[in-house]
Amino acid sequence: MSSYLQPITKPEATYTIHVKRFNPESNAQAHWETYRIPFVRTMTVIQALEYLWDQNTYLAFRANCREMTCGSCAMLINGAPGLACMTLLQDGSRIEPLANYSVLKDLIVDTSGIERKYKELEFWPKLEGATKISGVPRSVLHDYSHIYSRCIECYVCLEACPQSDAETTQFDGPMFMLQIARLSKHPLDAKNRPRQAIERGALSCVNCYECASVCPVGLSPASEIGKLRRRAFTQDFRNFWRKLVGKEPAQTP
């Protein structure tokens, strides 16, 4: 299918999929369309969509790497948010765009609000003089290569979280909290990240762990939120104690 060379195999079955389509220029409303796809075992949703392109049905969707690295292809598959490139195709799959954001066309949604938030949150290390890293604890390195670098910013957790959507200003969402956690562990960062997390609504997390159960790369943003909250509490408690005994409150987390 599409532009990738693949082993020549005979399709094992014909699957039916339903795609919610919307063309802002012609349809007034979104509507469901049904397509038939020749199926081979372990075929993914994105391969089904590419097959449609090969049949001159150019429905609009975002995709780039097709291997769980770029995070472009998030959509709702059978009601659950996930990456099209990694979700195995099932007979009767219902494919629709993410529900939290306004639909631009077919399966493409408007994610400009998310991009704006990146600037607001200052997602870069706040370097205060320090420019070289001398030593990094092993736990931090492990966390980076297994957790923080794994986040591909695909917005699936944002979709699953019951406490945040495109309009909520109270709580930014699990993905942002994870990125804050990432920076909190970066050796060069000097900003008080646990405090920033609380300010951006980390207390709104209800520990439902939906974000962890839908994350395509197996991360648990809820755990990271928990860790940030714990560090914020510890800070607050320590500062309270210091004030009590007459010392200056600690600046760094």
Partner: protein, 555 residues
């Protein structure tokens, strides 16, 4: 990287991205590492240079290679300031990983998604510096005025409008053209390279398409390359008899020989009938401790688990697939092309890697030359005293050209997807790992036929203005034909085998006649070519007697 360097110089920068910033192209997919850290005391940038030149068959531009190796180290700490973090050894220094063709391990990495980590840092830095970026906008034409770059016509994929962006200095960091072949890097359609040619720039080494030896082949749903770190961490390549066949082809380097060599060896095994059941070959890390796999190859582990395969327990089936086009736009040490004001960096540029690229050299390439391109381009733009003229008529022209392609009624004689499919399959068959004259001529004929008959018959039936991917495919088809033609003509001319270019009818290396780069350019609308002998300013081939005396295409 270029945008960041340019913004640092104080220039006004606009990043135009065909996809979403930080998510498009192939940089996020890069798994392995950045060859930039000379940790062992015996290692140095000179040895890195030697390795790169040997791998590239000495077709590399030595000046570019020298700059690459000398500047690499200082960029790694800079990335960490942007927010990246690389693996480290217990003593606090960077961990380095070995890659095929490198004498010493020198590649800095983060898990097995170094490229992604790098993109996170770069993307954040762009946001921090407040650099303007246009997402999902595709450049369709570069405008040259009085022999110098003046601007570009950009098509906004999201809303369908055509804009003219005036710019006295343009940096093409658009990636290579691996997507002309059936590649996992399928979004790399060579736009920048084709645009540069039309603008008058020179292209070189376009016939060298590197096949990455290990691409996921089976199960059906798995995509993407299986990183070289799979082999670097100790993975084995096995044929259907369970033998480590690479020990026969290259007893010294085995699986860590250079990619061109490994790909051909795998092909030979498959053609000899010792391949895996679905047309690939086996690769296995099952003999390694599970903890090492979980530590060093977490992404590959997870990816395959999604399809029900545990790489800790059994082999996977892989096959060489097109991965990286070594050639590209010809640049000098300042990332300048032959067109004043036009710069190129990274995979879009050629000359750094010669006939074959070393693993993990690409990330180094894009960082080093990205930085240079941005810096020099910004300098040039700032030194400019005359104002840059606005040329909206070019945008209107493009709009009319595109409107001519759209027609809901015209019964299209050619289906774009079918045409694309046919071409990529033919490119893989005739312009792939094993080439011969008749195959290449068949491809050339197909290109000429398509040019003459099909191009005029392309009709985009989808008339929507927003997110018209059919139109995008159509526009890319023109770029595709340009790249195909140049690559094929180059392969036909080069009657020898070197690096990634292997001719069954000329299986040996011919240093007497072919230590030259084939350079293409357009003059008065005609495609012309030139053979330019490679110069040897610093490293001589006779420093490597074993290589110089053999006529093997590879090192």
């Amino acid at each position: 990287m270029a945008a960041i360097a340019a913004a640092r110089q104080g220039a006004r920068v606009l990043v135009v991205d065909k996809g979403q910033l930080g998510k498009s192209g192939c940089s996020p997919n890069a798994h392995g590492g950045i060859a930039a850290w000379y940790k062992r005391t015996q290692d140095s940038y000179e040895i890195h240079m030697h390795d790169t030149l040997l791998s590239g068959g000495f077709l590399n531009d030595q000046e570019l290679v020298r700059i690459l190796c000398q500047s690499a180290s200082r960029l790694v700490p800079q990335l960490e300031q942007f927010g990246c973090l690389f693996n480290r050894d217990p003593d606090g220094s960077y961990s380095v990983r070995n890659f095929g063709g490198h004498q010493y391990p020198r590649s800095v990495f983060c898990g097995d998604e170094t490229g992604h980590e790098m993109m996170i840092g770069l993307r954040r830095e762009i946001l921090r510096l407040g650099i303007r970026h246009l997402d999902e906008v595709m450049a369709t034409r570069l405008v040259v005025e009085n022999g110098a770059a003046a601007g570009a016509v950009c098509w906004d994929v999201a809303n369908g409008s055509f804009q003219y962006v005036k710019a006295p200095a343009i940096v093409l960091a658009t990636g290579d053209a691996a997507g002309i072949w059936p590649s996992a890097s399928e979004r790399q359609r060579g736009d920048g390279i084709a645009l540069a040619l039309e603008a008058g720039a020179e292209l070189m080494d376009m016939e060298f398409i590197q096949y990455h030896p290990t691409h996921a082949w089976w199960p059906f749903g798995v995509r993407g390359s299986v990183s070289e770190s799979f082999r670097a961490e100790g993975g084995h390549l096995l044929n259907s008899l369970g033998e480590r066949f690479m020990s026969q082809y290259d007893p010294a380097q085995k699986e860590l020989a250079t990619r061109d060599k490994v790909s051909i060896c795998i092909y030979r095994e498959i053609l000899a009938g010792r391949g895996a059941p679905h047309g690939g070959i086996y690769a296995s890390v099952a003999h390694l401790p599970a903890r090492l796999i979980e530590e060093r190859l977490p992404v590959i582990l997870q990816k395959y688990l999604n399809y029900g395969i545990d790489i800790r327990k059994g082999p996977i089936e892989i096959r060489p697939q097109p991965h990286y086009l070594n050639g590209g736009i010809k640049i000098n040490g300042n990332a300048q092309t032959s067109v004043p004001g036009l710069y190129a960096a990274g995979a879009a540029a050629g000359g750094v890697h010669g006939a074959n690229r070393l693993g993990s050299n690409s990330l180094t390439d894009i960082l080093v030359f990205g930085e240079i391109a941005g810096r020099v381009a910004a300098d040039e733009a700032l030194r400019r005293t005359k104002p840059v003229p606005e040329h909206r008529e070019f945008a209107d022209q493009e709009q009319r050209r595109v409107a001519g392609l759209m027609s809901a009624e015209k019964k299209s004689a050619v289906s774009l997807p079918a045409l694309r499919r046919k071409h990529i399959e033919m490119m893989d068959r005739h312009m792939g790992v094993l080439r011969n004259e008749s195959g290449i001529k068949t491809m050339l004929k197909e290109i000429e036929d398509t040019r003459e008959s099909c191009l005029s018959q392309i009709a985009v039936r989808d008339t929507s203005t927003k997110y018209n991917f059919e139109l995008r495919d159509a526009l890319e088809m023109f770029f595709r034909l340009t790249i195909e033609e140049i690559s094929t003509r180059g392969a036909l001319m080069r009657q020898e085998s070197r690096g990634c270019h292997f001719r069954e009818d000329f299986p040996g290396r011919d240093d007497e006649n072919w230590l030259s780069n084939i350079v293409f350019y357009k003059s008065d609308g005609e495609l012309r070519h030139e053979l330019r002998k490679v110069s040897f300013p610093s490293v001589q081939m006779k420093q490597f007697p074993e290589y110089a005396q053999s006529n093997s295409p590879w090192h």
